[in-house]
């Protein structure tokens, strides 16, 4: 084991994948200069382990700022013998290539009757919580969950980021990974040897009996903080990180809810049609008899992301908001002020006014 940052783990997975298979290539904006720190040994180009020096300009390719052709060309290359890893930098930029994602990447294998394989990984980072404003803060994975044919990965730890990315590169289907920028510096133990984490296997982060929290991406550390604070009051919380949203480990969540009888879903995406909405519906359908209280979602309310730190920070699932939601599902009085988390959690465009 060695200690690695979330970002370092992604870089390590990319290096291993490049070394393991000559058909793996990395394309994207600014990958040659290692601007984001995932295509080199260190922060500087001269550091040992620079990808451009190691693998050459045929396999490490800077692109123009042309998301539509980057995504489409990666798909075409994947259909003809390459296994591209595409670095799209910010998740908000994925919209520029929506036609290619939805009409080509997701559909080609299906509509051509299985003739096409699409071994391509689209990496992007969600820069929310960092005062980058409305054009850089999106958490758009639920939109892509609504597109059959894509696989969706949302790692929350260095260990998962590395193991899931290796599996994603091995996959013959298109995988979108949504990395949380706010977790980039998180450190964790990572095996030195190669390993892979299957897509569709949730991780039980913490065992508990009184309530289940399914937490996504940066909501995972927030849920752990909530569970720890409630443990002091004798409340035992189970935290599950699904790690991948498509495929989704339905069984792990259902099993847990059957035991605890209570569910909170913490999801940094906007509330309406969020991953939390889908997970809640699925549990309501499959485990209704086990539920001893209504499911509570802790999401980002349906508003755009403002710039000012004093406006932005309150919007995402936080330890206190998840704590408050757990107290609610177990029927304990809450300590939050009346205009606090509860109001925020109900702020959906679809909610009754």
């Amino acid at each position: 084991m060695t200690v690695m940052s979330y970002l370092g783990a992604i870089g390590a997975a990319q290096r291993e994948a490049m070394e393991a298979d000559p058909s793996v290539v990395i394309i994207g904006e600014d990958v040659e200069a290692n601007v984001y720190g995932t295509t080199g040994g260190g922060k500087s180009r001269s550091d040992k382990g620079d990808f451009l020096q190691m693998f050459g300009s045929n396999r490490i390719r800077n692109t123009p700022i042309s998301e539509e052709v980057i995504v489409g060309a990666a798909a075409g290359a994947a259909m003809t013998g390459l296994r591209p890893i595409v670095d799209l930098s910010y998740s908000s930029f994925l919209y520029m290539a929506m036609d290619q994602f939805v009409n080509q990447v997701a559909k080609n294998r299906y509509m051509f009757g299985g003739q096409a394989s699409m071994p391509v990984v689209f990496r992007s980072a969600m820069f929310y919580g960092l005062n980058t404003g409305a054009h850089h803060s999106d958490r758009p994975y639920p939109m892509f969950m609504n597109v059959p044919g894509l696989k969706i990965v949302v790692p929350a730890t260095p260990y998962d980021a590395k193991g899931l990315l290796r599996t994603a590169v091995d996959s013959d289907d298109p995988v979108l990974t949504f990395e949380a920028c706010i977790l980039w510096g998180t450190k964790g133990e990572v095996p030195e040897e190669e390993y892979r984490i299957p897509l569709g296997e949730a991780r039980t982060v913490r065992r508990g009996d009184d309530a289940t929290v399914v937490a996504i991406s940066s909501a995972v550390p927030a849920a752990i903080a909530a569970a720890e604070s409630l443990a002091e009051d004798g409340i035992s919380v189970e935290v599950i990180d699904p790690r991948t949203l498509v495929p989704f480990d339905t069984e792990a969540v259902i099993r847990s809810v059957q035991r605890t009888g209570r569910l909170v879903v913490a999801d940094p995406a906007h509330r309406t049609c969020s991953a939390a909405a889908e997970i809640s519906a699925m549990v309501a359908e499959e485990a209704f008899e086990s539920l001893r209280a209504p499911i509570v979602r802790v999401t980002t309310p349906d508003t755009q992301i403002p710039f000012s730190p004093s406006l932005e920070k309150q919007l995402y699932p936080s330890g206190p908001r998840i704590t408050e939601a757990i107290r609610r599902v177990i029927g304990q009085p809450t300590s939050m002020p009346s205009h606090g988390a509860r109001d925020m959690d109900q702020l959906a465009t679809q909610a009754p006014r």
Binding site: G76, Q104, N108
Partner: protein, 328 residues
């Protein structure tokens, strides 16, 4: 360019295949035997075949909604194509693609696209594969005058230019985007746009001459194979039928005299005469060739009729390599 008699006869054969296949498909739509609609390449056969035959067997190609001609031009057998149009299990895509989304990977056809211009980046990516893997394959992206105003074309031309990718951008300018005359929505000359990307751009004014198209595309393909990068070839042609079969817009947007003028210079008739004049084949031999093609189309329809529809469970296959979720 000196093409062997066999190659020239193969050109005529493939043009005839497209014509007779699409004539039959058009009838089948009208009789309700093909669900949905189809877009025929009737009138554009020289442009399609001249381009396809300039490619080698291992080369890649993508296309658009006017979709049957491309795989036929690249050498696909007709049976699985016709079966796909009807939605049969033996269709080239197993009944999941239909007319708008044909693909036959066995001949390098990486897919037609129902979204105008959307397959151009795919062809560009196939060219990237060829470049990285150094396997000598060339890509060709077919698109119409309508797609010439889609942004992804210019993203693709820029990327292909800067990476010197082995690709030919082939604009099939049939002069109408559905009902809209190209010149009313297109600034300047499409072929001239190549200059902005530092690549050759040529316009084949007589797209009804299969050899003229072949020459232009062959030059572009050779350049691509030599590693010198992409080219843009614009071919002026004309579709005889409506934008899509069954569409009843009438002829308000197209002058009947204009259409008649183009029909008079029919690419198949023109090339047939040329083959006879050049002594490549006799009229009898060409009659026999036509009869063979008609038989091929009959057989394709028979194959289609004899084929079953896919089992409903097939709707849940091929989304992923291995099924996931409830389907796993």
């Amino acid at each position: 360019m000196n093409l062997s008699p066999q190659t020239q006869l193969e050109m005529q054969r493939r043009m005839l295949r497209i014509r007779r296949f699409d004539e039959r498909a058009s009838k089948m739509v009208k009789r309700g035997q093909i669900p949905g609609t189809v877009h025929t390449s009737i009138g554009q056969e020289a442009q399609v075949v001249g381009a396809c035959m300039a490619l080698g067997e291992g080369d890649y190609m993508t296309g658009n909604h006017r979709s049957h001609g491309h795989p036929i031009g690249k050498g696909s057998p007709l049976g699985p194509l016709m079966a796909e149009l009807v939605g049969k299990a033996t269709g080239v895509c197993g009944g999941k693609g239909g007319s708008l989304h044909l693909a036959d990977f066995s001949v390098g056809s990486l897919g037609e696209s129902g979204i105008v211009g959307s397959s151009i980046p795919i062809a560009t990516g196939a060219a990237l594969s060829s470049k990285v893997l150094d396997n000598g394959h060339v890509s060709l992206a077919f698109f119409g005058d309508g797609a010439a105003n889609q942004g992804c074309l210019y993203e693709a031309m820029n990327l292909a230019g800067v990476w010197k990718l082995p690709i030919v951008f082939l604009c099939e300018n049939n002069q109408y985007a559905l009902s809209t005359p190209a010149h009313t929505v297109t600034s300047g000359v499409i072929a001239d746009r190549a200059a902005g990307f530092g690549m050759p751009g040529v316009r084949v004014e007589d797209g009804q001459d299969v050899l003229a198209v072949y020459d232009a595309v062959h030059t572009a393909v050779r350049r691509a194979r030599r590693g010198e990068g992409p080219s843009l070839v614009e071919v002026i042609t004309y579709r005889y039928n409506e934008h899509s079969e069954g569409l009843k817009l009438g002829t308000d947007y197209r002058d009947q005299a204009e259409r008649a003028q183009w029909v008079e210079r029919d690419p198949i008739v023109v090339f047939r005469q040329r083959l006879v004049d050049d002594g490549v084949a006799t009229a009898e031999q060409l009659d026999a060739l036509e009869a063979e093609v008609i038989e091929e189309v009959d057989e394709a329809v028979q194959f289609t009729n004899d084929s079953p529809f896919p089992d409903p469970s097939v709707a849940f296959k091929d989304l992923y390599t291995e099924p996931i979720g409830a389907l796993a």
